[in-house]
Symmetry: C2
Subunit: 312 residues, 2 copies
């Protein structure tokens, strides 16, 4: 087994620096979109994308790229922005009045509150193909061949799609089922795991795999990235439920609302302590995937720990 | 100049036969999506996709493929379904309460009326990456290399994206501008042409180009498809405004509502007769692009005539 814990202060600095580079790349990405869409839509996209966040997916992408031998250049951050754009689309649509009807995200009014439901709806839809176009251009600028850049782009879209993140949104919608004639029924653990595997795990795993693809990594390393990412994605979601159940609005920057909305959570299924233990076991499984592929990847290991130690 | 008008009855039969093959392919396409999304979302997709329509884009795709030397096989119809799926997504979201708030589409209640706004919103978003995945698989099944299949897929997404159809939806949104603080201002002809070039022209041109790409056509023929498609797309939109101004709800199967919503139309800009003449000139320009590339393409010429002679 490979270990290599970074000093605490050093890891915080690393996170902050990567986060700043991601913010800059996101502004470039949204700036490109701004050239083709009108002001109201651009403003909704900016609110949805530049309103803060942990930036976990793009940081995982550039870190996977680096630790599998790639160069962490400006274009790599641009590639990472495309993944965050897909994630931001999902939050923007999740918050819509017809979905979770959320007035607040990260302590600020949601995009549809500020810019109207129409602008927020179009903005969200525009972000999907824009993320694809941006990923393709960024991968080319990283020196990938057109064929590889296209493979990266289609991998991103597949993770976003009906078998991944958007499919997960759809399953989530049915699980709550406030649609006409629907009846809410609680999910068991297997169904909840499947839901989050689609809604969170697919894009998180794709972030790591795309980082590896951008680095030109081989099949074994890419498979390890996928396993690491799926376990980490689930751990992230389990901890989200724990924080939702134990955190206050002030710390979370949003209303702890999932259980109010009648969504099934890990805390309901296995209590707060049980969920914490499950998250720890998932992170242990994630790092075991790195061990099995003999990948040191100290920063990915730190990021995995961060997921269960975070307070929001 | 190349001519070759088909007998009237023969062209109607051709349209009906192609339309039936497209319907069958659309059912295959939606059936694939149904395996990964829950019932409410699948029902909304089915309503949005299988509720009828002219199927102009997929018919143009398979016809371009055929007339540029490709084989019109089952996989070609599947590829054509991916283009219609993108078109159907745009209609589904256009009809939402936060957009045009349309209760009726093709004489039937819109998807959000029947299945709820949440299901319709998620269904629309799911259709974008699903169309990409379906296009990729279909192009492979047509015998295209992975590289070509990916190029076809990204071309579809580019036409759908912020610089194309969805960007056009966004511009349209601002032109009406019922968002907070907005003020409607009428568009001049250049702005209206730019709007429709994005909202209709990009995807229509892409349908023809993708048909050519699937046939393995050369650059000159593909460029002709693009020019033909952009002119035809604009002609189509001009005639839509004419039909909106002169048709009844009974014939159109929808409320003739664009001018009610304060949208700028060609009829407002240049009267019904002026708009008809403009549409005819655009179709003449479209067929001139075929002439310039020495393409006989008799069925594409018939389809261009159909666009200005249709009654709905």
């Amino acid at each position: 087994m490979v270990t290599g814990k970074m000093p605490e202060g050093s890891f915080r600095r690393f996170l902050a620096e990567r986060g700043e580079e991601v913010e800059t790349a996101l502004r470039r990405c949204v700036g490109g979109l701004a050239e083709v869409v009108p002001a109201a839509v651009r403003a909704a996209v900016e609110d949805g994308v530049l309103g803060g966040g942990k930036r976990l997916r793009p940081i995982l992408l550039v870190t996977a790229c680096e630790e599998l031998g790639g160069e962490v250049c400006e274009a790599a951050y641009d590639l990472s922005a495309s993944v965050e754009l897909i994630h931001a689309y999902s939050l923007l649509h999740d918050d819509l009045p017809c979905m979770d009807d959320a007035p607040l995200r990260r302590g600020r009014p949601t995009a549809h509150i500020t810019h109207g439901v129409r602008a927020a709806t179009v903005a969200g839809a525009a972000m999907i193909p824009w993320a694809a176009a941006w990923a393709f251009e960024s991968a080319l600028r990283m020196g990938r061949a057109r064929e590889q850049a296209r493979a990266i782009t289609l991998h991103l879209l597949e993770a976003a799609g009906a078998g991944g993140m958007i499919g997960g949104q759809a399953v989530d919608l049915l699980a709550e089922d406030r649609s006409p004639g629907g009846a809410a029924s609680p999910l068991d653990e297997a169904a909840l795991e499947r839901l989050h595997g689609m809604k969170t795990g697919a894009l998180l795993a794709a972030s790591l795999e795309i980082g590896g693809m951008a680095a030109g990594a081989g099949d074994a390393a890419l498979a390890a990235m996928g396993r690491f990412g799926r376990s980490l994605g689930l751990a992230f979601q389990v901890m989200d439920d724990v924080l939702d159940a134990t955190g206050s609005e002030e710390v979370l920057g949003k209303r702890p609302s999932d259980s109010e909305h009648g969504k099934s959570t890990y805390v309901q299924l296995m209590s707060v302590d049980g969920a914490r233990n499950r998250a720890r076991a998932l992170v242990a499984g994630a790092t075991a995937a790195l061990d099995a592929a003999a990948l040191a990847a100290p920063r990915l290991r730190e990021l995995a720990r961060f997921v269960i130690e975070r307070r929001r």
